[in-house]
Amino acid sequence: MMAEKTLVLKSSPHFRDRDSVPKIMYAVVISLIPSAAASVYFFRLRAVLLYVVCITVCLTTEAVFLRTRKKPLHSLGDGSAVITGLLLAMTLPPATSLDIAAIGAVVAIGLGKQVFGGLGHNIFNPALVGRAFLQTAFPVAMTTWIPPAVLKVDVATFATPLGHLKFEEAVAAGTLTPLKDLFWGNVGGCLGETSSLALLLGAVYLFYKKAIDWRIPLGIILTLSVFTGFFWLLQPQTYASPLFHILAGGLIIGAFYMATDMVTSPINPLGTWVYALGIGLLVGLIRLFGGFPEGVMYSILFWNTFVPLLNRYTRPRILGERRRR
């Protein structure tokens, strides 16, 4: 007989997959690198400064709240505050002043996440909460656009492709931003939303890492395509094509990186479809018939509200269960 060993006692299962919350979060951070790089290429030092300020202020705010709530500080390292900072910066116009960005970051983490109890408990996407706050508090700053550094145009009248579409009747005038530019990112817009290519590159990585639910981007893009496609086919001289709507504005970043936030999206497959279709439809409605040129942010925040309800009423049918009612 060998000497008695002290054995670990735990309940089954004893094997587990190697993925973890921080690994998922850092996968998202890594997936955003191409877009961050693209924005630095297009907007130079402004982009770098906005990223630095947003991430630093998000982490600091998180630390202050954790400290106040007497929670262990190690959850700072889970990567979620870094994502919020990155995503917030990406939704800001490149000309946003640094103090406004900092306020947005405080609101994103404070009101968007920590007041609900921190990671896993928030209802709304924290970065979008910060952005929505800034949109209301600083409406002018949040709608002032500058062209990418590589574009030589008149700065004073510069508009985003969607703004151009909405307020300047671009389709009729034949001045709609070419799809090619939307794809590469050589257009005006928020920091991280301009280059569809860079965003899609990161999205491929997210799928590979299984860090996002494919149903969400697919559902959003399909609904938006059908909705905008319907009007485009009806009146091509007034409405832009579905492909334009997919590539322009914040749709790609919203569909792949924000609506897919695990904490604020549904857990059941049916609920996820309803959520995705709802967002796609609402984006279409706002863009085509609303007062704003862009509607991704409000659509996601609106549907975030319904996630608890969707989770409750879309329970999957249990194997062998016969549904009454």
Binding site: M2, H14, F15, K23, P316
Partner: protein
Amino acid sequence: MRAKSFPHGVHPPEHKELTEDKPLIPLPAPEKVIIPLHQHFGSPAEPLVQRGDEVALGQKIGEGKTLFSASVHASVSGKVLSVEAYNHPLGKPVLSVAIGNDGEDRRSNQIQETEDPFVLEPAQIIHKVKEAGVVGLGGAAFPTSVKLSPPKDKPIDTVIINGCECEPLLTADYRLMLESPEDILNGTELIRIATRAERIILGIEDNKKAAYDTFLEKSAGREVEVALVKTKYPQGAEKNLIQALLRREVPAGGLPFDVGVVVQNVGTAKAVWDAVSHGRPLYERAVTVTGNGIKEPKNLLVRVGTTFQEAIDFCGGLTEEANILVMGGPMMGLAQWTADVPVIKGTSGILAWSAAEVITEYTCIRCGRCVDHCPMRLVPTQLMKYVRYEHLAEAENWGVMDCVECGSCQYTCPANIPLVHWIRLGKTQVSTARRKKSA
């Protein structure tokens, strides 16, 4: 042939290479065996012997008196040393018969061969199975005689023989399939006769091609369908195997009977054959002793009542780093606090490796992976929250009792939440509440 399967589930690393090529070898009977009188689902057996009695190999030493019980037999010949409570792999000490082995293996005169088992009536087969104390050898140890006696209003049309062995690391069933295919097929035929079924399907995971080929060859001329199923966990869970092979859903809260099916593990089929044909009670079983905490992993034929320590010592002992000892597979097995526990009828594996002592738990980030992988289509994270915050009625509405505790949810959980643990707690609380209500 395309492998059949069920939706959801997981694919943990298999690590079967440690023992899959190691034939089953008998572990020499120890000097003393400790045979618990409770090794099965149901009520304990009552002792038939007392201290000082001489017993023979295969002699009945505990009688399963109720329907949901099973008799227990001596696994060596010799003298009864004590009848008292002893450590048990399921946790609580259990009344056990300790027998000093005289090394002679004198066979009990209760053991009698049957000349032609295939002409027996169903009732005779079931009687012999009950007398031999046969229980399900897949792990749950449900009394086989009960499974062979479906209620009159629930006719059985199909017998499914479970050769999935979907738990990682375990290879004992695989070796049985390679080494005793005839016995398994014969036992299967007896099960078919006993349940008056028409069809027999043998389901084997596609990582055990050698076993599949063996059965294809051996089943020629027999009315047995050998089916390949996908290597996926928990393919061998009764309800999922039925779903994969027959596309039938066992109703929630119901049993395979309800859809005309009886599922038996390959080891159980062999035990049925041994019991009915040779009159041999279940006092020995195939056990995989493995994991990187075991110096020389092996597949063993172990007498019931041998301690884990003896089986481990025969396999070169534990490594320095080994700090967890598990009975069963790594997904559903039970961690042990000591190696001084006896092998029981439900011991399919003895595993050891080195496990992290502290695991960081995060809050649920609602990723939904548990929902995507639950083979019962439950919402584990929601069940966990209902149990945690004591909403038992909600937990029940959301199907907490349908959980089979396979562990797929917790396997995929990136937040390391002990989901199965919470759900088990909920199940216990709900059944306690139900019992109180009916009392």
